[in-house]
């Protein structure tokens, strides 16, 4: 393995400015958004075309360097980090390639972020119907690779339901179209498209994605409510999700996150929790659902709010605005266990003298995406607290949203067979075993 030689060869392929190796150049790639433990990649490449990307693999193989694809680095489990391998920064492959208004689909490159994508769609009267919780800077490729759920999931499901077709590049350099562009491919042979969803870059690198899109809803309205007992809020959110057709998001946050909203000059004052729900659809049906919703949470004094809370929905800017460093874990949790999960966070935080925050978005009638945050303040107990929390959440039936480099053991505990299956099929796709094999090692 010679990094110098690999560097020279990669510069020949990607050009000088697109191959990084100096400490200050690769600094931002040594961490993801929330991680504290650095992993130093040997090299970073930033392809400008898929053709360049396909030439990467022979070099990586020759020099025995593993390859890890990376978008904007919003996976909190160190999924976009690499120890001594090559990171492929996909953010320069960020084009929307084709929007088909008749077929309601858009084909994009993996590095396009949600903000640009929704801009492209909005200009034609469409929306994606699904957005990540962390940030609008997250890329679509990363969202697919981590089985993304988020705003809109309660209506449209996870990215699993939105992805129609993918084009991937394998470590032998070949390019494969996994699905069909115009019609679901569920009953036409093995479903390779959805096999790539949540595969975290271990099977192939996504180079193109065709997604379903939806006509932009005629109107949207936001309703907020506050409550002191999390169980009450969780039950109400569930009840509403079962009986409305325009609910696109419903999330709750605890007091500490609410504080941050306040610093953005929003007038919410409550000791406990804030719940926000958004209805989207035709005016007639949104109005019907809004009055139903208000009736269901009547005792919590619901109030209509403008778009200011909605516009502050992305969690990363909220967390960043608070004390740092933080420790962030995201899990999907059965809806009926969500309140218990919150109490675990509170108990464990108190035990170790750590402040915490809780955020939870309902993603289906039966599950939530819950984000647990510890503010460390120099405490050495954060890692112990995290481990305890992990144990508690897993025993409640929670699953980490991604394995990355850090949560493979938790993933194995939560869904052992799935990891075994992924290991089994890896060699079929990644014959050279180059694509982040360390993510599957326990």
């Amino acid at each position: 393995m010679s990094i110098d030689q690999a560097y020279t060869e990669l510069v020949n392929i990607f050009g000088h400015k697109n191959v990084l190796r100096r400490k200050e150049e690769i600094q931002q790639y040594c961490l993801d958004i929330y991680s504290r433990t650095e992993q130093k990649p040997a090299l970073v490449v930033k392809p400008e075309s898929t053709k360049q990307l396909s030439q990467l693999f022979p070099v990586a193989e020759k020099h025995e360097l593993h390859v890890t694809p990376r978008g904007s680095g919003f996976d909190p489990a160190m999924g976009s980090m690499s120890n001594n391998g090559i990171i492929v920064d996909l953010t320069q492959l960020n084009q929307a390639l084709a929007l088909d208004e008749e077929k309601h689909s858009i084909t994009v490159q993996p590095g396009i972020n949600f903000r640009s994508l929704s801009g492209v769609l909005a200009s034609k009267g469409f929306s994606l119907g699904l957005e990540p919780v962390a940030s609008s800077e997250a890329t679509i490729g990363g969202f697919i690779a981590t089985h993304g759920v988020g705003y809109g999931s309660i209506k449209h499901g996870s990215i699993f339901n939105i992805v129609r077709d993918l084009e991937i590049i394998l470590s032998d350099g070949s390019i494969v179209q996994t699905g069909l562009k115009d019609v679901p491919s569920y009953a036409t042979g093995y479903d390779l498209t959805h096999l790539l969803v949540g595969s975290e870059g271990t099977l192939g690198i996504i180079i193109e994605a065709t997604l379903s899109i939806f006509p932009k809803p005629e109107m949207a309205t936001n309703i907020a409510f506050t409550f002191s007992d999390i169980k009450v809020g969780a039950d109400i959110s569930r009840e509403i999700s079962k009986n409305t057709s325009t609910l696109s998001s419903v999330f709750i946050m605890d007091g500490s996150l609410m504080e941050t909203l306040k610093t953005r000059s929003m007038k919410i004052s409550h000791e406990g929790f804030l719940g926000v729900l958004r209805l989207e659809g035709t005016k007639e049906v949104v109005d019907l659902d809004a009055s139903f919703t208000k009736k269901v949470c009547e005792s919590l004094l619901p109030f209509q709010v403008g778009d200011e809370i909605w516009n502050s929905r992305f969690l990363y800017p909220l967390v960043k605005a608070r004390e740092t460093p933080v420790l962030v874990e995201d899990y999907t949790i059965p809806t009926d266990k969500n309140a218990d999960a919150y109490h675990k966070l509170e108990d464990i935080g108190a035990k170790h003298g750590l402040k915490s925050s809780f955020y939870s978005l309902q993603i289906s009638m039966d599950s939530n995406l819950s984000v647990f945050i510890f503010y460390m303040n120099g405490s050495s107990e954060a890692d112990i607290a995290r481990e305890e929390l992990e144990g508690s959440i897993l025993s409640l039936g929670g699953k980490p949203c991604s394995a990355g480099l850090r949560r493979t053991t938790a993933m194995k505990k939560a869904s052992p067979g799935s990891l075994d299956l992924l290991k089994k099929i890896k060699g079929v796709f990644d014959r050279e075993n180059l694509l982040s094999p360390e993510k599957l090692v326990l």
Partner: protein
Amino acid sequence: MSTTLFDSLVGIVGEKNVSNREMDLICYSSDIAPLPETIISTYGIKMPSVVVRPQNPDQISAILKLANEKGVPVTPRAGASSAMGGCLPIDGGIVLDMTSMDSIISIDEEGMKVTAQAGVTFQKLLRELEKRNVKLGTYPTSSPSATIGGYISNGGCAGIGAPKYGPISSQILQLEVVLPDGEILSVDSPRSSLLVGAEGTLGVITQVVLRIYPIPESFVALAYGFDNLTLACEGLIKLLESGIMPNSLTFMDKCFLETICELGLEFPKHEIVFCLTLEGRKQLVAAQEKAIDKIFSGGKKLDLAFAMEEWERKYKTELFIKRAGPTIILVEANVPIIKLKEAVNSLREVNEKLGLKASFYGIMGHGGSMLTMPIVLTDERMEEDYFNTLLSTLKMMSIIISAGGVIYTVGLHNCIFMGLIHNEKKIEIMKSLKKKFDSYGILNPGKLTECRMAWLKSLIK
């Protein structure tokens, strides 16, 4: 002396769960669309040598290990309600009848999920769920015989509930599967998607955890008749654009309606009839009905009583037509709704040339697609006629593919179209997956990735 296959199987599942009686073997050698002798011999389809009814995954694991050891093919089978030949034991060997594994293990209303063995029929499961005031999202029109394992294995992306709740794939929380080498795995979403539509070639699904949903406050069945295919298809496109997702939508064409009427049922006479159902809160359903009346204003709203009757016999209509047969040959194609008109028109054109009469029945799927089923009546006892009809239906499928549709389940008959739909590299990966899972090729051989019918291609050009 080595023990015979039969005795070894008796050792695994007990005497009463193994049979090699001729009558059983005959019954287990076809699905709902029986094939005539000539086809059976031209296709090289063998009779199974033994039928086994396993009771649990450990038994299946032992059977598969035994099959690997002895080099005997194993073909999983449940309700056999697909007409694509996917459960035919074409190389003989063991038929694995999954229908004994039909227990409902738990219904968790709080967690909103049901755990059941894969051999349970949808009808049984739905009845049990209904007692607790919950339901499944998506289920097939063949619910009385179709099992959850079978539907999942066959892709499950069209059916009742599919437009609203999505493909069955997105309702699976967990699958337990026995792999061809006997390993038992419990796989959750999204990895479970590999087993969806794998048609029993990568593993045998033994247990499923599915999402369940509350039974909505209100339900309505509606029907609309159109005297013109164009107006009907335009209406469907408008429905898609509106974002209103019916719980179910079926369509029948004139030929289908006439054939049904000849059998003595009273059906309205129109070029196209849509039957659909809506569910939700009372006010919402009322608002949606009003909106749909407007969307389908190119047609005539039909009697609500007829719509309700049609809903009541939802499991029967599609196959009622079989009585006019006695045999039917079904083409099952998934067609994007924006291409539906084109597909139906080009089929009709060709059928006219061929002197073929096809009845169209369709059920809306997920993602703007329509499972479109031209049904041709024939008689499997008239062998030459049957063979010609079969060739014509294969030709119909290739026309649908040129018009933008795809096959719906591969099975035995649709293998020849894989190359028309998928690129070479994708097929190569499918084959490698099969090889990786089933190195000796014992599980459901001759299907999906393994086409034995290539010679048919030249006949349908």
